[in-house]
């Protein structure tokens, strides 16, 4: 699950990364810092796994006021 600060939300961590990258000589635009959460879901049912992961994002892993999320499924 990829959790990102929503567009327009001040992201001081992203700004610090952006400025460090520029100091190193990289030509970069805006940098934003989010969070990656890997969770093992013990099911072979993709729809079921997706539904569970969505509930995790809604209930705990994101604050919908300030963050958005994206889910990627992978077989182990």
């Amino acid at each position: 699950m990829l959790v990102r600060p929503k567009p327009g939300i001040l992201d001081p961590q992203g700004q610090a990364v952006e400025s460090s990258l520029r100091h190193l000589g990289f030509d970069v635009g805006e940098a934003r810092v989010g969070r990656l959460v890997d969770v093992d879901v013990p099911t072979d049912d993709r729809a079921e796994a997706l539904a569970q992961l969505e509930r995790m994002c809604e209930q705990l892993l994101t604050n919908p006021l300030i963050e958005s999320y994206e889910i990627e499924l992978e077989r182990p």
Binding site: L10, P12, Q13, L60, N63, L65, I66
Partner: protein, 234 residues
């Protein structure tokens, strides 16, 4: 006869660190303030108000307050608040109340990315809340902040709505915003006015030895209101 001492429990999480200061300040101001462990499912029966103290509940992993809001005691606090009970969240307690949806907005890392620990000057926008009756409108209070995640955020539409409903109760004075909070918001209440959260620490400013007694205006107001609710329920 001495005035009755209302019971104002202070909730304790693993990682809370201002619970004893809050307890001491409330007792100094005339309340009885038992500390209540977060796994409790009920508040003490005679509870007249509740305080959620500062600290780093559950290490503040994920987002500040995001995990603490699922503690059993928070369900009891939600029920208490829904019945009109007085709830005050200080710093981490404020973060927990926003995560629980009891207060509007969210608290983000400070714009400076630095932990900030210093006195700030606050302007009291309203004195008709249970948390500010001992203040004067427009009064400036000096109370310390100490936090890494105190940047209160709400989008423009929400800020405008809260402004017009008078929920932006406390603001950092011009130029003294320590964290980049939108609209200089330091403390915000819910629509009904019985739940209030603020980033500064009134419990650290109740004795001249600490440099300021302005925190007593906030906590003392709460003790007064709790005492009134006690009288009303008898």
């Amino acid at each position: 006869m001495s005035e009755p001492r209302p019971v104002i429990p202070v909730v304790v999480w693993p990682g809370s660190n201002d619970d004893r200061d809050a307890q001491r300040a409330l007792e100094h101001l005339g309340a009885t303030a038992p500390r209540v462990w977060h796994t409790e499912e009920m508040l003490p029966r005679e509870t007249a108000a509740v305080v959620l103290p500062g600290g780093f509940s559950y290490g503040d992993y994920l987002r500040c307050g995001a995990i603490a809001r699922f503690s059993p005691i928070v369900r009891a606090v939600e029920a208490f608040a829904a019945d009109g009970g007085l709830v005050l969240g200080i710093c981490n307690g404020f973060q927990i109340l926003t995560e629980a949806g009891l207060l509007p907005g969210a608290l983000r890392p400070n714009a400076s990315l630095s932990f900030v620990c210093r006195d700030v000057t606050l302007r009291v926008e309203r004195t008709d809340t249970p948390f500010t009756t001992r203040c004067r409108t427009g009064q400036e209070l000096t109370i310390p902040v100490k936090h890494g995640d105190g940047c209160w955020f709400a989008d423009d539409a929400l800020v405008a709505a809260l402004e017009s409903s008078g929920q932006l109760v406390l603001r950092y004075t011009a130029g003294d915003n320590p964290n980049g909070a939108v609209a200089d918001v330091a403390g915000v209440s819910n629509a009904d006015g019985n739940v209030f959260g603020l980033m500064p620490h009134p419990e650290h400013a109740v004795d001249p030895l600490l440099g300021s007694v302005d925190g007593a205006s906030i906590l003392g107001s709460l003790v007064d209101a709790a005492r009134l609710s006690l009288a009303a329920s008898v």
